[in-house]
């Protein structure tokens, strides 16, 4: 009989877990929708800035702006690793960290900038050179937050003479697919020009000032976009992970119920046999 009770408690606890994972799935789905909207809303701004930068670059403005210039003599590099703050999102963080470790193998001296607690915890434990870290940013996603991050990174880039800063993050493909990408953040590579307007603009105050200001803004937007993508990807990953967890819990409950019924049946059978043999004994 003890066995029966044990199975019953087990079933209850799995049911509770299933309820939790199911709720988490729903929450992730709602957050995912919001994050997707954010990405769509950020697009016109980013596109327009990219277009302006392209037109300016195409004019061959003779700027030696440090944000745009490839400096081959500077070897110092840094990686920005964007992970999530919370766990329970499948292989989301593992993939990022794996990719970052491979990148670090080629470039052992590189500095790290961590956005998201999971990455920070990992690299701190493995005593990598983490120069900056930002945690708990994804709860309140706001453009001003990402601007602060971007400003810090820009200052770091300019003050510390980095040759290159790369970002490693999860790109949002669809709700069930995330891609780990490494992208060069600084110096800025304007996306390939398709149809640049040949309009001859008048620039005020002058091209140089505009291009340097525009460079800063471009990095702000890039960081914003990357954070949005990563948070959407995180929610997507969590949704899929929680979905399969819920499914697994359902399977487990099914097999436990089967066990329970079998145990109950055999308990009843034993009881009947006992009664029957007892009755037989009286009859004789």
């Amino acid at each position: 009989m003890a066995n029966l009770k044990e199975i019953k408690t087990r079933i209850e606890s799995v049911k509770n877990t299933k309820q939790i994972t199911n709720a988490m799935k729903m929450v992730a789905a709602a957050k995912l929708r919001k994050a997707q909207n954010n990405i769509i809303n950020a697009r016109p701004y980013a596109d327009h800035l990219a277009e302006m930068l392209k037109t300016l670059k195409n004019k061959n403005v003779s700027t030696e702006h440090p944000l745009l210039e490839e400096a081959s003599d500077k070897e110092k590099t840094a990686f920005i690793v964007v992970t999530s703050d919370r766990g329970l999102c499948g292989s989301f963080n593992t993939h990022i960290i794996k990719k970052a470790m491979t990148a670090l193998k080629e470039n052992p001296k590189a500095d790290m900038i961590c956005i998201g607690r999971k990455g920070y915890d990992f690299f701190r434990k493995h005593s990598k050179n983490v120069v900056h870290h930002y945690i708990d940013l994804f709860n309140e996603m706001d453009f001003s937050v990402s601007t602060d991050v971007a400003d810090n990174i820009l200052n770091l880039f300019l003050d510390e003479n980095y040759g290159k800063i790369d970002v490693i993050y999860n790109e949002f493909k669809s709700a069930i697919q995330q891609n780990v990408v490494i992208k060069q953040l600084l110096p800025i590579i304007p996306s390939e020009a398709e149809d640049i307007s040949k309009v001859d603009y008048i620039y005020e105050p002058d091209e140089e000032t505009i291009i340097s200001e525009l460079g800063n803004k471009y990095v702000h937007v890039d960081i914003w976009r990357i954070m949005l993508e990563s948070s959407a990807a995180e929610q997507g990953a969590r949704m899929t992970a929680m979905d399969s967890a819920t499914e697994n819990a359902a399977d487990l409950i099914d097999s436990l119920v089967l066990h329970y019924n079998r145990a109950r049946q055999s308990a009843i059978t034993t009881e009947i046999i006992e009664i029957a043999s007892g009755a037989e004994a009286i009859e004789k």
Binding site: F143, V199, Y201, I202
Partner: protein, 132 residues
């Protein structure tokens, strides 16, 4: 009469997407007006008041830091923060003005000083629009 199509783009949304007859933009080198058939033009925006005119109506916005592209009767403004006259929270602007002034007096580092200066500027523009 031809009109100018004005698009104001913020990082999180498109604020304005409409036609106007005339607009006045606070550029870094001074306010300038844009009427139809304006020459192609790119400039930076300083904190100030953006005015959009249609007929007898005027819309005023407090705008802070951005870029404007004028081309072919379309004006594209990209900026981080912009508020319409009636969206301005005068109380908040006032308190942030006081905060910025206090910080300007007691600031240690350059960065904080610049930040305080900028936020003071913003607050002043908001107040000038919000109270009118």
């Amino acid at each position: 009469m031809s009109k100018i199509h004005v698009t104001i783009i913020q990082p999180t949304k498109i604020k304005v997407d409409q036609e106007y007859e005339h607009i006045i933009i606070p550029g870094v080198d001074g306010d300038f007006g844009v009427s139809p058939e304006h020459t192609p033009f790119i400039t930076k925006i300083r904190s100030g008041v953006l005015q959009l005119f249609t007929g007898s109506k005027t819309e005023k916005y407090a705008i802070h830091d951005g870029f404007v592209t004028v081309e072919n009767n379309t004006v594209k403004i990209v900026c981080d923060t912009i508020e319409k006259e009636n969206e301005i929270n005068a109380k908040r602007a006032k308190s942030s003005k006081e905060r910025a002034e206090k910080r300007l007096k007691s600031s240690e580092s350059d960065i904080n000083f610049r930040r305080a200066e900028l936020s003071l500027k913003r607050a002043l523009i908001r107040l000038s629009l919000g109270s009118s």
